[in-house]
């Protein structure tokens, strides 16, 4: 009975989503191998393990009914918030930032969980409300503001900004009025100034470096310059797999994590970049399409929250390694090395798969249909 249900669910899973994930896994692991093959290959093996764990998480989440997920939204969010609040108290410091909790077996990064929990709770909050009355908006702003405040003091500016923008996307999808939106947009310069005043030295340096990387070619601008050289020197078709000279010289200390895109760009050239961007683009479109099919508003908003985070990570990461954005330390989804980011990302895609499954299992007249697509 149970097994039959499980198989029914998986039979209804969105095939294009699976295909895109498989291709992204291939590209990610291929690139990571190139980045680490001269050094510590264990990183690559571990990433394969993370993929296995992530696929398990994906399949598991694709079985969790959305109704049940809705019930879980608040408890999960509150627990994650508590964990996040504990970080300044008992967290571990790694590389100058206090982001980690040591739970004995695993080292947990609560900010990694809270962003998904926030999407969940925000979708749940707006599921039967329109974000146009003050009460709804104020609660939503509190929901976003508290975790964002806790993350920004860690300090982790990149995650905070991604979180704020993804939350804004969910709010917009939830009916946030345009006049408020443009009003806030006008206030942005003031917010930027305030943020600048409260940035840590290294963060300010990174922003300045972004404005003019050549001003300190061996200091903070070094990474970006070297990354741009390696992307640019890749040309149209790249230098060939495992033949990237820039990567081989280990100019980047983080070439298997944040700067992995430049390895890909150097070795596969614009051709490889286009393939990667195409895969990301198709994945994003597919998720938006699933969001439009969803029969409940909760499911649609959840999809939008998840896809926003995915999109922003992708955009901010590639933007920063190619010198378009300041270096904020955001990984490239599916490609950068890292267990918790990958597993949680795949678990969230599992939720999206679930949305697809449930909308397909509905009778045609119960499905949410899009007037436009």
């Amino acid at each position: 009975m149970l097994i039959a249900n499980v198989l029914d669910s998986w039979r209804a899973i969105d095939r294009p989503l699976l295909l895109l994930l498989t291709l992204l896994a291939t590209v990610g692991l291929t690139t990571l191998y190139s980045a680490v093959h001269l050094g510590d290959l264990h990183i690559w093996y571990r990433q394969i393990m993370y993929w296995c764990a992530g696929i398990a998480a994906f399949l598991f989440m694709s079985l969790v009914p959305l109704r049940f997920l809705g019930l879980l939204a608040w408890p999960v969010f509150l627990v994650a918030l508590l964990a996040l609040a504990l970080v300044p108290v008992i967290g571990e410091v790694k590389m100058g930032a206090r982001r980690w909790l040591d739970l004995g077996i695993v080292h947990l990064q609560p900010s990694e969980i809270i962003k998904w929990a926030l999407m969940l709770v925000l979708a749940h909050w707006l599921a039967n409300r329109e974000a146009s009355d003050w009460k709804t908006i104020i609660v939503a702003v509190l929901l976003v503001g508290i975790p964002a405040g806790l993350i920004v003091i860690q300090p982790d500016l990149g995650t905070t900004l991604v979180l704020l923008m993804a939350a804004a996307a969910v709010l917009m999808a939830g009916g946030f009025p345009w006049r408020y939106f443009f009003g806030l947009l006008a206030m942005l310069p003031a917010a930027g100034w305030y943020l600048w005043q409260h940035m840590h030295d290294y963060q300010q340096k990174r922003v300045l470096m972004f404005l003019d990387p050549q001003s300190d070619p061996l200091g903070a601008g070094y990474h970006v310059i070297q990354s741009m050289i390696s992307i640019g020197s890749g040309g149209l078709f790249g230098k060939g797999y495992l033949h990237g000279t820039q990567a081989r010289l280990h100019f980047l200390p983080e070439q298997h994590t944040d700067f992995i895109f430049s390895v890909l760009a150097e070795e596969f050239g614009m051709f490889g970049v286009c393939v990667l961007l195409l895969l990301f683009g198709l994945l994003i479109f597919r998720i938006l399409y699933i969001a439009s099919l969803a029969f409940s508003r909760f499911a649609s908003l959840l999809c939008i929250g998840i896809v926003s985070i995915l999109t922003l990570y992708m955009f901010v990461n590639i933007g920063m390694v190619s010198g378009m954005l300041p270096v904020v330390g955001v990984p490239l989804p599916f490609v950068s090395y890292g267990g918790s980011a990958l597993v949680s990302m795949l678990a969230m895609l599992g939720i999206i798969a679930r949305v697809g499954i449930e909308s397909r299992q509905q009778l045609p007249w119960q499905r949410g249909g899009s007037a436009l697509l």
Binding site: D133, I229, I231, M270, G281, L288
Partner: protein, 594 residues
């Protein structure tokens, strides 16, 4: 307006419109990235490609110089000497085969060493400098430097290696270095670094090691270094100034004259260790560049155990040096005998057994003072009857026996104090037998102590009952672990007796130390190694196998009236404490500069 009051059709329309905006936004973002890529990879490609070719910057780590270790007078105990190394960065080598062939033909490498080097190159990180040969001779340096420009990826670098000017003498205190192991690399050490593996080199690794720097080099397309762009200099490790006095240690070693044992000398007021000697030693210089397996095994299997730091890692029965503990226990519990005399007939009858005094003919009438001065065993047998086991053990614990001294040298042995209430043997408890309590009172039986503990005990007797934490750094502050509360009059009795041991004719050590430069107060000890049958001779006589002969102890302090140093000397199988160990104390006091 609440959600359910809104027109569902209107809502859906609004949602779909905004969803469309998301499609557009995603498309715009991706297009933006694509435009940037076109800019970099197509428009700017030529310039960036040239930069990648001609202007590769590589960051190479630079090893720090290890801090030196000096004694309290600034004499170098562990220093650095310059050596020249042959270094290779494997990924810069164009023709690995040819380079290796050239090196093998011209360097005096054995087949095994060459195989080892090849293996090392295969397994190491390709972007980091790899040391192929650590100690180049001058003519090799000259020869190599003349040919380096033909071989990319090779370099001759000046580096430092450790030298121990007092190798064997200071071996146990200073310790030695060894090449990094795999788990060190995980902690951030670089390949080819040396790490403190023993002694102070290990204990103060963090302070001695220093911080590696880095060097950003511009290399050309063939991997040759064109220029050094930027150097973050490594930070030299801290110089460690010790409280040890190498001259005094030398005097102690000379007086030990090749015998196995240990000498500890401690400042009675600060707890600073002046001498920490364990003989035989081993030459720590042999560890530089890797100790040979043969040498290591010979040390490991030497019956004299040269690798053992006897001063802190070996425990011995304290023998008669422990009698002060028993005497103070007696006074503390107001044992009648502490203020009376008894008569020593050379032995005491206990049921069907005889417990002997070391003097077969007996000491005659003795009180506490005489018993300490002549080291009479019978007096202490009888005193133990009155104090009981508990008082003895508690007193010993007060003076720091049975627990680590927490000197910053590890591993340290605790020594053993038995349970005051029960004899525990193979998990079973029983009451102490009378005879066991009696021999405990003369420092035999189950009690054991390290020479360092005994020296600290002597220091505490000298400074009025302050049990100090021993330390080896010159800068360390004195740290009193415990102040033993003992009436001054009682302590004075003990001290007077210790003075008479050394300076009054008839005292056990009188012959050997009374003419030392400063008056010594001390106590001899002769600790049994093999259980003595009461009918046999003591194991001090000639004709008894060396490994069965007694250990000789001498502990005390000097000068008597204004104590400065306390010492403990242990000579393994040295026979009597008086003739075996006391002369070493005289030599130390004679070499001492106040």
């Amino acid at each position: 307006m609440a959600y359910h009051q809104l027109n569902p059709y209107e809502l859906r329309k609004r949602f779909d419109f905004r969803l469309l905006l998301f499609y557009l936004l995603a498309a715009v973002l991706i297009t933006g990235l694509l435009l940037r890529m076109i800019n970099l990879q197509w428009v700017q490609h030529e310039g960036l490609r040239l930069q990648a070719e001609n202007n590769r910057i590589n960051v190479v780590p630079v090893l720090p110089v290890r801090g030196e270790i000096v004694d309290r007078h600034g004499k170098k105990l562990a220093a650095n000497a310059i050596s020249y190394q042959l270094v290779m960065i494997p990924e810069r080598v164009q023709d690995m085969e040819g380079t290796l062939r050239m090196l093998n033909a011209n360097m005096p490498w054995s087949k095994r060493k060459f195989a080892r080097i090849k293996r090392k190159i295969r397994h190491a990180r390709k972007d980091r400098p790899l040391v192929l040969d650590e100690r180049l001779q001058w003519h090799q340096v000259a020869w190599l430097v003349a040919r380096l420009h033909h071989y990319a990826g090779l370099d001759v670098q000046a580096a430092t290696h450790r030298v121990y000017p007092y190798g064997e003498l200071m071996a146990h205190a200073i310790g030695y270095l060894a090449k990094v192991r795999k788990n060190d690399l995980a902690q951030g050490y670089l390949a080819d670094e040396y790490v403190g593996r023993s002694g102070l080199e290990r204990e103060f690794e963090a302070r001695l090691h220093g911080t590696p720097g880095s060097q950003q080099e511009e290399v050309d397309a063939y991997g040759r270094r064109v220029a050094i762009l930027h150097i973050i200099p490594p930070k030299t490790g801290e110089t460690l100034r010790l409280s040890l006095d190498v001259d005094l240690q030398q005097a102690a070693a000379t007086a030990m004259a090749g015998r196995t044992g240990s000498v500890v000398v401690m400042d009675v007021h600060s707890g600073a260790i002046r001498v920490l000697l364990s003989t035989p030693g081993y030459d720590t210089n042999a560890f530089i560049g890797g100790v040979s397996g043969k040498q290591w095994n010979s040390w490991l299997h030497d019956p004299q155990k040269p690798l053992l730091n006897r001063a802190i890692q070996a425990t011995y029965p304290p023998g008669s040096t422990w009698k002060m503990v028993s005497a103070m226990a007696g006074m503390r519990v107001h044992a009648p005998l502490a203020h009376q005399r008894t008569v020593c007939h050379g032995m005491i009858q206990l049921h069907d057994r005889k417990l002997r005094c070391w003097k077969r003919t007996g000491h005659g009438p003795v009180d506490m003072h005489d018993a300490l001065m002549h080291s009479c065993d019978v007096y202490f047998y009888e005193l133990a009857e009155q104090t009981g086991m508990k008082a003895l053990i508690t007193e010993a614990r007060r003076w720091g026996f049975g627990g680590r001294t927490h000197i910053r040298l590890s591993p340290e042995a605790r020594g053993h104090l038995p349970d005051p209430d029960y004899h525990v043997y193979r998990g079973k408890k029983r009451r102490w037998f009378q005879g066991e309590i009696m021999i405990t009172a003369i420092g035999q039986g189950l009690v054991t102590a390290t020479p360092l503990q005994v020296a600290r005990f002597a220091a505490a007797l000298a400074n009025g009952g302050q049990v100090l934490e021993p330390h080896v750094l010159a800068a360390a502050k004195p740290h009193v672990l415990r102040q033993v509360d003992i009436p001054a009059a009682q302590l004075a009795r003990i001290r007077q007796a210790m003075f008479d041991v050394a300076n009054t004719p008839g005292g056990t050590a009188y012959r050997y130390v009374h003419d030392a430069k400063y008056p010594i107060a001390g106590k001899t000890g002769t600790a049994q190694v093999v259980a003595m049958s009461q009918t046999q001779a003591r194991y001090t006589d000639k004709g008894v196998k060396t490994q069965h002969r007694d250990h000789a102890w001498f502990m005390g302090y000097a000068p008597y009236d204004h104590p400065r140093i306390a010492f403990a000397i242990l000579v393994e199988h040295g026979g009597h404490g008086s003739s075996g160990a006391a002369p070493v104390a005289a030599a130390i006091v004679n070499a001492m500069k106040l």
